[in-house]
């Protein structure tokens, strides 16, 4: 089911034509998925120690006595 969905999405996006030279704006620093890794680390660590959820974002690191 998931594979099917993935294939459909690839087929869908396969048609959109974003030319390499149009990707300059996608390379802008504010367009990075993670614009500030250090701040993200602090924020995620804080959430991890106060909330029950973890995962999703990837970059799974080590444990901590805070949780």
């Amino acid at each position: 089911m998931k594979i099917m969905l993935l294939l459909c999405l690839i087929a869908l996006f396969g048609c959109t034509q974003v030319k390499p030279w149009q990707r300059d704006r996608l390379a802008a620093p504010q367009m990075a998925f993670d614009t500030d890794p250090l701040e993200t680390e602090l924020r995620q660590h804080s959430a991890f120690s106060k909330e029950a959820s973890s995962g999703g974002y990837g970059g799974g690191g080590g444990g901590c006595g805070c949780n």
Partner: protein, 302 residues
């Protein structure tokens, strides 16, 4: 941040060239344009047929006598040339330069009518063998990247500007143009398309904010024979220059592709307008009798 317009004009690859772009400071502008200039000069040194120390001259000097090592970039250019050769049914052939020996384009006349058949036998891209490391060119044959390298340089330099944070500008090498970002206020760059019937006048201006415009034509170099005007674009199958098309302009994402399309269209001769239409790209085709097939509209929206 404040942006200022910089305009750098110079001569390279035997043509007037120009970079126009917006940068944050004169130091940044100078830094990037120096890199861009060095890039153009590097490609000219490497691929010019007119320089005895170029890689192309070395390959041609060794024709029939040995193998010459080539690098990745040259291999990639050969691969692209092969694609052009296939797409054009063998008309776009980087080995067809030897045919020019029969004509004198400076004087505009046929030099040696009898030589044409003999020269045709020395043309044929499929007789060149190369792999990732080496190339072998048969005796009597020669490579000429003239129809590819200038356009390739335009794209490469445009990419270089972008990699160095320049977002608004254009690169022009001998009339072939690549725009890599609208002006800072969002306006497109006006690009003048020459009138092939009266080459010193502008046919029309088109607005481009991203993409390339390349032209091919008989503006300066042509011959007249038995009252017929021939362009300098030579058909490798007949040995003769083409005569039905005076000039072609194509708008595409890459200058390299736009340039190859104009050349292939010229070689398609009478079939040029129909073939161009099938490419689904904006173009202008000026026929030998002066008629214009103008498909530059609708608005350039690549």
């Amino acid at each position: 941040m404040t942006l200022a317009l910089f305009d750098v004009a110079f001569k390279a690859m035997g043509s007037p060239c120009r970079f126009q772009f917006y940068a944050h400071s004169p130091a940044q502008a100078r830094n990037v344009s120096d890199l861009a200039l060095a890039c153009v000069q590097r490609l000219e040194r490497k691929y010019s047929r007119y320089r005895s120390d170029s890689l192309v001259s070395r390959i041609n000097d060794q024709a029939g006598s040995g193998i010459v090592p080539i690098d990745q970039e040259t291999k990639a250019l050969l691969e692209y040339a092969r694609q052009c050769y296939q797409e054009s049914g063998g008309l776009f052939d980087i080995t067809s330069g030897v045919l020019a020996e029969a004509f004198d384009f400076q004087q505009g006349r046929v030099r040696d009518l009898a030589a044409i058949d003999r020269l045709c036998a020395r043309v044929g891209f499929d007789r060149i063998t190369y792999d990732a490391g080496c190339i072998t060119v048969p005796a009597g044959m020669a490579l000429d990247f003239g129809g590819i390298v200038k356009e390739y340089a335009v794209d490469t330099v445009a990419g270089l500007f972008q990699q160095h944070g320049i977002e608004h500008g254009l690169v022009e090498l001998g009339g072939d143009i690549r725009v890599f970002g609208a002006q800072p206020d969002g306006r497109a760059w006006p690009i003048a398309v020459r009138n092939p019937n009266r080459p010193d006048t502008i046919y029309r201006r088109i607005q481009v904010s991203q993409g390339a415009v390349a032209s091919s034509g008989d503006y300066e170099r042509f011959i007249e024979h038995d009252g017929v005007r021939y362009s300098h674009v030579l058909n490798p199958k007949t040995g003769w220059p083409v005569s039905s098309v005076k000039a072609v302009t194509v708008v595409a994402e890459h200058c390299l592709v736009a340039g190859s399309l104009t050349t292939i269209a010229m070689l398609k001769d009478a079939a040029a307008p129909a073939w161009l239409k099938a490419q689904n790209l904006p173009f202008l085709c000026c026929l030998a009798d002066g008629r214009m097939v103008d498909h530059l509209n609708p608005a350039i929206n690549l």
